[in-house]
Structures are given as structure tokens and as C-alpha cells.
């Protein structure tokens, strides 16, 4: 019974933890401009993150090493250092976007301007990172984040033309008002939103935090393979809400306040309250994960002691890294930059940086010296190679498309 509860809890937190500010903003923007014609990218992204997370979770559980320890061992200090710099900066960008997301969500609840919420959000973030137990932190934000299911409920309440939605999703075409380059630019953004690197740093380091062993492999695979696809369905639901309400009206999504309007239209004040709670939980959870990821990546590369299972005094540099990153994120946001813009950039840069972490994990997941009998099977490797091609293509195409389309405008 306890086991069943454990599996259920794992799956539920994986669903709630899947969505972050990047997923919400990108899906809503895409839904309002392209309808569901990019929904296939979410499917590709979800399969990709399932593959990537299950590989890195397996590597962590079997070898006891997290992502950046492996990258350093396999690539050597110089190449791994370049890799670290890129991954660390993009993670910091994502952290900034998430903290901004918390502030915007709190603005929706209070109509107090986001700049006043940023210090509050940063302080709360630091307190939780400093004090809360890893498992409690994970489970609470994941479970509260589940309230975002209200987006899926809203799709039904809005009573859309299902044929048209299915048509957009199943035979995708580029809408007349948008160019092909913009379509593919957003395809990459959506892919980057689904496959953010921090999820993998966090997942593999979390496996070490929670002391997974080979015995826990089945459960971790279950969490990923059931939880993430259900999280992906929520992503599509967000896009569908925007496609139903905004696309016909010619409204382009550019703010968080627009994302919740379809939910209000469908379910009234109660649904609105629920969705705001969900957004706060999802962004706060993701902000925690990215803060921890910044500490994990740097500490693992440098060989510092790390982890929330140690008391802060025993992992001082790990905690200091997180404090500095949270301060930097807060400081950047206090300059009044638009968090939504930061989010849009962060998902694209995530896609650009993805090969840097994907390839080393793929190589180590095949290395019998680390993995013994738990190396990748043939089917996994076939899929992993297909994704290697997709990930590298998206990464290479992202910057030219970003320039050609003026970042999708």
C-alpha cells in the first residue's frame, strides 16, 4: 500500500512539476498565433524529456553520480568548463524568468505591481532552499501545481469546435498571417520549453539527494513515463485555451494576465483563483528547482560537497552559489525588464544548450564501466539517436531563425 502511495505521489508531483513559466507562456503565445498546429512539438518534446530524464535518472541511480560530475569526468575540465558556463548562464536566465513569473502571478492575485513582489519572492525562495526538506519541497509544490489541471477543465467548459481543434493538431499548416520561419522558430521555442536542461540537472541530482539505487529504477521510470506525458497534456490544454479564445479574435498573447482570461471565461472567479494558485506553485516550484540546479551544476563541476541532505554549513559553497544566483535574478528583474520577454529567450536558449548535456549523458548511459548491466538497450539507443539528430538540428537552427524572425515578432 505504501508503495502504491509512493508511486502515485511521484506521478502526481511529476505532473505538477512539469509546467513552469516557460511552458505556460510559450504554449499560450503559440496557441494564440498558431492554434494547435504546433501541438506535435509538445509531443516530440515530451517523448524527448521522458527519454532524457529516464537516462539521467538511471545514470544517477546506478553510478551515484549526477549530471555535471559525469560531464566533468567524461569531457575533461576544459570542455566541461565551457559546457558549465553555458548551462549555468542559461539556468540563471531560467531562474530569473521563474522568479519574474512568481511576481506576475502574485500581481494577478493582488494587483500590487510585480517589482514589489520580487524581493518577497526571492526571500521566500531562499528560505525554502535553506530550510525545507527536499522531499517536502518537491511534493508540496508538485501537488499544489496540479491545480493547473483547471486549464484542461476550461477547455471542456469553453465548448470548442472539437473538429476544428483536431484538424489544427492533426494536419498542421502554417497560418496565413505567419511566415514559415516564425513557425519553425516557435517550434524550437516550444521544444526548448518542454525539454529544459534544468529539469535534467534537477532530476539527476534529486536522484542522488533521495538516495536512489538500482532498486528504485522502476519507480523513477514510472514517474517520468506517466507524469511527464500528463504534464504535456496540460501544456496542450493551455495552448488550446488560447487557440479557442484568442486566435479567432486576432489577439496575441504577450502577458501572463492574458493566459488566465480563458479560464475566467470558462469557470468564473473560482476557476480563476485556482489557476492563480497553480501558477504561483508551478513558478515557485520551478524557481526552487532552478536555484538548486545552479548550486548542483557548479558544485558538481568544482567537486564541492553539495546537496540538501547535508546541513548548509557542510555544503557552504553550494548554498552560497544559490544565494548569489537568487540575488542576481532578483537584481535583474528589479531593472523592470519584462519577465515574459526573458521567458521567451530562456526557452530558446535552453534548446540551444541542450546538446551540451544530452550527449555526455547519452555516452555515459552506454558506458559499461559506469552502468554495468544497466546500459541503454537497443531500442533506447535507436530513439536516443533520433533525438540526438533533432536536438542538434534545433540547437543549430535556433540562432539563425531568431535573427531572421526578430525573435518571432
Amino acid at each position: 500500500m505504501k508503495r502504491v502511495l509512493g508511486v502515485a505521489l511521484g506521478i502526481l508531483t511529476a505532473i505538477g512539476g512539469f509546467l513552469d513559466i516557460g511552458d505556460m507562456v510559450t504554449n499560450a503565445v503559440v496557441g494564440s498565433r498558431f492554434g494547435l498546429s504546433l501541438a506535435w512539438v509538445v509531443v516530440v518534446g515530451v517523448i524527448g524529456i521522458c527519454l532524457f530524464a529516464s537516462m539521467s535518472g538511471r545514470v544517477a541511480a546506478v553510478s551515484g553520480r549526477a549530471t555535471f560530475e559525469i560531464i566533468r569526468e567524461r569531457l575533461g575540465p576544459r570542455a566541461a568548463g565551457a559546457n558549465l558556463t553555458a548551462s549555468f548562464l542559461i539556468n540563471l536566465l531560467t531562474l530569473t524568468a521563474e522568479v519574474g513569473g512568481i511576481a506576475l502571478a502574485l500581481q494577478l492575485a493582488s494587483s500590487v505591481e510585480p517589482r514589489l513582489w520580487i524581493p518577497v519572492a526571492a526571500l521566500a525562495l531562499w528560505l525554502v532552499v535553506w530550510r525545507a526538506k527536499f522531499s517536502i519541497m518537491e511534493n508540496v509544490t508538485g501537488l499544489v501545481g496540479l491545480t493547473l489541471v483547471v486549464f484542461a477543465v476550461a477547455v471542456f467548459l469553453l465548448g470548442p469546435d472539437w473538429n476544428e481543434l483536431a484538424d489544427q493538431a492533426l494536419s498542421p499548416t502554417v497560418p496565413a498571417a505567419e511566415g514559415h520561419a516564425v513557425y519553425w522558430y516557435y517550434a524550437i521555442a516550444l521544444f526548448g520549453a518542454a525539454m529544459t536542461p534544468y529539469e535534467v540537472f534537477f532530476f539527476s541530482s534529486g536522484a542522488v539527494e533521495e538516495r536512489w539505487t538500482v532498486k528504485d529504477l522502476a519507480q523513477s521510470r514510472m514517474n517520468v513515463l506517466v507524469g511527464f506525458p500528463l504534464g504535456g497534456i496540460l501544456s496542450v490544454a493551455i495552448a488550446a485555451c488560447a487557440a479557442i479564445v484568442f486566435l479567432p479574435a486576432g489577439i496575441e498573447v504577450s502577458s501572463l494576465s492574458q493566459i488566465v482570461l480563458p479560464v475566467a471565461l470558462a469557470g468564473g472567479k473560482l476557476a480563476l483563483a485556482v489557476v492563480i494558485v497553480g501558477i504561483v506553485a508551478a513558478t515557485f516550484g520551478a524557481a526552487l528547482e532552478t536555484s538548486l540546479s545552479s548550486g548542483y551544476t557548479l558544485a558538481q563541476f568544482m567537486g564541492w560537497s553539495w546537496g540538501k541532505f547535508r546541513r548548509p554549513a557542510q555544503a557552504a559553497r553550494f548554498h552560497l552559489t544559490m544565494i548569489v544566483c537568487i540575488l542576481v535574478a532578483g537584481a535583474v528583474l528589479m531593472t523592470s525588464v519584462d519577465p515574459i520577454k526573458i521567458t521567451e529567450f530562456s526557452v530558446v536558449f535552453s534548446a540551444i544548450a541542450l546538446p551540451l548535456t544530452y550527449l555526455p549523458i547519452l555516452i555515459v548511459a552506454n558506458d559499461p564501466e559506469y552502468m554495468g548491466e544497466h546500459v541503454n538497450g537497443r531500442a533506447t539507443n535507436a530513439l536516443a539517436l533520433v533525438y540526438l539528430v533533432i536536438i542538434v538540428t534545433a540547437s543549430v537552427a535556433a540562432i539563425p531563425l531568431m535573427i531572421a524572425t526578430g525573435a518571432g515578432s
Binding site: 558506458d367 564501466e369 554495468g372
Partner: protein, 123 residues
Amino acid sequence: MILGDLLDTPVRGPADERLGYVVDVRLVLDGPLVGPLAAPRLHGLLVSPRTGTSFLGYERTGVRSPALVARWLRWRHRGTFLVHWQDVAAVEPGAVRLRDGYRQISPDLPGRPSQRPDLHPAT
């Protein structure tokens, strides 16, 4: 000298011909006992003709998957050979020079990777 001085250094033969770059070194543990372990000894250098980048572990012939990555890395490092440390005449800034009559030895690391008892239940 540290390992970082050697890695990525161009290698030249006795007649100053370009042979490639140092991509790795091989150590053997056969020195006198220092505590519980034998002192390591530098056995030789791995020289790759075209690139100074890493082999990423695919010098071990037992590691073949994922096929595409393994094949690509082996292809990039085709012609890689091992030279004994005794065959190195001089290490200068920016070049490693080999002595006359040096021998190119196969770089393969055959056999099974070192075993970890916790990963390989007795069969």
C-alpha cells in the same frame, strides 16, 4: 610537468614530420608499492593524427553504442596510435618530438571494462 602541458600538443616525428596530437596518456600501476597501491608509471602517449579533441571513452573497443556516436568518434580518430614514453625524445613548448625508430602500437583497449562487483552480480 603536468598532464595539461601534454594534452592537445602537436606531435612530430624524428624528421620533423607532423604525426598528430596528444589526446590521452596511458598509465600503468606497476611501480614500487606506495602504501596499499603501486605507484603509477607513464606507459605512453595516445597520438591522434587529425584532432586533439577527446575520444570520450570510445578507445575501449568493447564500447560500441550508440552506434552512430561510436562510429563517428572512431572515424575522427582513425589512425590513432600509442607510442611508448621511452620513444619520446623531447617535450618542447608546443611540440612533442619522437626519437628515431619509434614504434606505433595499436591503441585498442581490448577485453571487458573493469568490473564493479556491485554492478555485476556473480553469474
